[in-house]
């Protein structure tokens, strides 16, 4: 395999990209040590761009799903459960099976969309994390770039494949239980695994050989307001999410579990006694319980994920080429959206769709902040690539 070497220092103190390109001098206003950590279309730059884009794309998909699919799907699932209760009342076991078949299809529809959203954003988080550890991945620049491309290809195709599972089904599939969309998703997952194994191999090489410190320039040291706000704010979000999860598990989890079986018992008793009013009430109670569980779990997971995102984005700040005021605005918007979305998801039970709408706006605030930062990174890259003579 190709081995890595410490990056050569060109005469005159300029910085050479690890890809072995020409001497790269930091443009005016760009600290040379920061520029050296962001070579043109190097692995780190690809992972930062791709990571932010995947997270923004995954969040946008999640927002669209929440507005146009989630509630409608819940309503249809309730109707199918009511149909199952009616079939019980009519002493029609085959009707029960039909209703459960419909419930299965609705759950698949909902589940694959949630999975597409989660996998896209998580691939973005992993891309940003990999961007952070690139200085310690002891592989040649070309291999690192190849692994980054492989990872981003897998991270893009995996959610696409998952999304298509419900629609493609088993059409034209030579397999009895696996459809083409699953094949696409699994292949994309394999690409991610290969890329991660490659990165781990590079890390192993680095820590096994203690010849030099980092393989390429380490991330710039910085204790700016933006970085401190994102680090402390992000960790605080994680802490709040953790405490909320502990509170939920301690006070509500067991009660929810007991209530669920109780509702199902009542539903069956009412339906078998042909009391469809009571059975309908049980179906409504069951839907309300599922909503109660869903908002608590969604709030818990979203606030922690936003916390992790804030921590990861703190390391990207030196590459955001914007005025200090705009950088602060995007950081504030991101942290505000990260609080608003989970808080109003929780309030959906009391305030209904108004809270859902505000939660969606919180999600859009995070997306806007991400895009703002991405634009800053693109401006930085453009300025860096244009060279010292470029003007802003």
């Amino acid at each position: 395999m190709a081995v890595w070497e410490p990056p050569p220092i060109p005469p005159g103190g300029g910085q050479r990209g690890p890809a072995g390109g020409g001497v790269r001098i930091a443009p005016k206003d760009t600290p040379a040590n920061v520029a050296a950590t962001f070579p043109a279309m190097g692995a780190r730059r690809l992972l930062v761009f791709g990571g932010i884009a995947l997270i923004a794309g995954g969040m946008l998909f999640g927002d669209i799903f929440a507005v146009f699919v989630l509630h409608q799907n819940g309503g249809q699932t309730g109707e199918a459960l009511l149909a199952a209760s009616r079939a019980v009342a009519a002493q029609n076991p085959s009707g029960v099976k039909d209703a459960f078949g419909q419930i299965g299809s609705l759950l698949e529809d909902r589940g694959t969309k949630i999975d597409a959203h989660v996998h896209m954003t998580d691939a973005g988080y992993l891309a940003l994390l990999l961007a952070l550890v690139q200085p310690y991945v002891a592989l040649s620049a070309e291999r690192k770039k190849f692994l980054a491309k492989l990872f981003l290809t897998g991270g893009t195709l995996l959610p696409v494949g998952i999304f298509l599972i419900h629609y493609v089904g088993l059409a034209y599939s030579p397999f009895s239980v696996i459809g083409w969309a699953s094949v696409l998703a699994d292949s994309a997952g394999a690409l991610l695994i290969i890329a991660l194994i490659g990165q781990m191999w590079g890390l192993w090489n680095h820590f096994r050989s203690m010849r030099v410190g980092a393989v390429e320039a380490e991330l710039p040291e910085d204790r700016s307001w933006e970085r401190r706000a994102l680090l402390s704010g992000g960790t605080l979000l994680v802490l709040i999410g953790f405490l909320h999860g502990a509170w939920y598990a301690g006070t509500m989890l067991y009660e929810h579990e007991a209530r669920e079986t109780g509702i199902l018992e009542t539903m069956l008793n009412s339906a078998s006694a042909n009391d469809m009013t009571a059975a309908g009430r049980s179906v409504a109670d069951y839907g309300a319980l599922q909503a109660e569980k869903a908002v608590n779990i969604a709030a818990h997971s979203h606030i922690i994920e936003f916390g992790l995102l804030a921590i990861l984005l703190s390391f990207v700040q030196p590459y955001v080429f914007l005025g200090a005021e705009w950088k602060r605005r995007w950081v504030t918007l991101l942290l505000a959206g990260s609080v608003i979305l989970p808080a109003f998801v929780l309030l959906e039970l009391r305030m209904g769709l108004v809270a859902g709408g505000i939660a969606d706006i919180g999600g859009l605030m995070v997306i806007a902040a991400l895009i703002g930062m991405l634009v800053g990174v693109l401006r930085y890259s453009g300025r860096l690539d244009a060279g010292p003579g470029a003007t802003a």
Partner: protein, 162 residues
């Protein structure tokens, strides 16, 4: 890289690998049977009721509840081990920005590692021995340790200098 960073990064990688292996084992040998069991229990309950066999229906609902209790905790154990491991890796990279003394940072890292192992372990013990107070106590101890470590990191990140 400081000792605290190394502890969090390598501890996080080890915990993530362990969590993934645990999840893989669960997915390969237990999960499908569990999901089939849950779906099958609900179907049995409703079809049993449709045939007028109410004791069978109630028994199936009880079986559904018991299987679901175990499933929720097994998935929680797997996802929390990996989630906390990811958090440890990210915080390990950021550890040098915690404006506190080295010794104190090391203790924070050690606490985070300990809590991240113990907290999901407590959830697992709750699944194995339903209703056992010592299992719940293990979970609480792990959660408190993680909470204190995270709170200390928030303070360290917010400070200008250590």
């Amino acid at each position: 890289m400081s000792a605290a960073s190394k502890l969090l990064i390598f501890g996080g990688i080890a915990l993530a690998a362990f969590g993934m292996l645990y999840g893989l084992h669960y997915a390969l040998f237990v999960e499908h049977q569990t999901l089939d069991g849950m779906g099958g229990s609900l179907m049995t309950a409703f079809t049993g009721a449709a045939r007028g066999h109410m004791p069978e229906a109630h028994g199936a609902i009880a079986a559904y509840g018991a299987t679901r209790y175990d499933y929720v905790r097994q998935v929680d154990v797997h996802s929390h081990w990996i989630g906390l491991a990811m958090l440890m890796i990210v915080l390990g990279v950021a550890m040098d920005h915690v404006a506190l003394r080295d010794r104190f940072r090391f203790w924070i890292a050690l606490s985070l590692l300990l809590g991240s192992v113990v907290f999901p372990l407590g959830v697992l013990l709750q699944s194995e021995s339903q209703g056992a107070a010592w299992a719940a106590a293990t979970t609480v101890v792990g959660a408190v340790i993680v909470t204190i470590a995270l709170a200390a990191m928030v303070v360290g990140f917010a400070r200008q200098s250590g």
